[in-house]
Symmetry: C2
DNA sequence: TTCTTATGCATAAGAAAATTATGTATGTTT
DNA sequence: AAACATACATAATTTTCTTATGCATAAGAA
């Protein structure tokens, strides 16, 4: 992600969240989708994305199938059943984290 | 931070945000304040905090003064003038980041 | 009175997760 | 022909944590 070094550790969650929305996606497509959703603010680098995808696959959360389109190979990723559960879990964890973070960034002024 | 490995990269921002609210704080106090604000959800470890404080000081964003209280030394940190500007900048950057992150986590369903 | 917990600082080794650089290959646009 | 886009992948390095360790004082529990 180029938008600074923020949120290291959330890339896997982002990927799985996108795969909840869309049955199957390939790596390059993911980078473009994130770029599109954030109006160019997040730029996922391949050096971060591919190792993440490989790890999630190794953990059994994603499966792959390759397709050849216009003579170029695309490797499509989909959530497995466990991946689906993990996606919900990771997203919930991230959202809970964001709630707490807001409390630190915008603490309620003490009453009285 | 113990609440998982999320949000690496935001600790410096959190520290500076707290110092915007409170003139001067010492390390241990910062860990307790964050714990308090997040109802125990974030636990900042010393191994993360002290190097961060030292780095911010080296960069000229924080100054220190030590005080002895009950025979124990406290090292108080305060924002410098540049630190004040940097704090605003870092917080704004993090908040902008969170806005974009929300767009990825909760994309608006396509119309039509 | 001894052990544990709390307060308070600090550093070092290791792990996790990025960035940056590089490599291969094809297709499209200038 | 050169540049840019599509599409994958890996390696070296950097950043930023976690975990472990160390020192020291104070307070509370056993």
């Amino acid at each position: 992600m180029s938008s600074s070094k923020l949120l290291k550790g959330s890339l896997a969650t982002i990927v799985m969240r996108l795969l909840e929305e869309q049955e199957k996606m390939y790596g390059y497509e993911i980078t473009q989708k994130v770029k599109e959703l954030t109006a160019g603010e997040f730029k996922i680098t391949e050096g971060a994305l591919y190792p993440t995808l490989h790890k999630l696959e190794a953990e059994g959360f994603l499966t792959t199938e390759t397709q050849k389109v216009d003579n170029r190979v695309r490797k499509y990723y989909s959530l497995t059943r466990e991946g689906n559960a993990e996606a919900k879990s990771k997203v919930a964890e991230l959202e809970a984290f964001l709630v707490q973070l807001q409390k630190v960034l915008n603490p309620k002024p003490s009453l009285g």
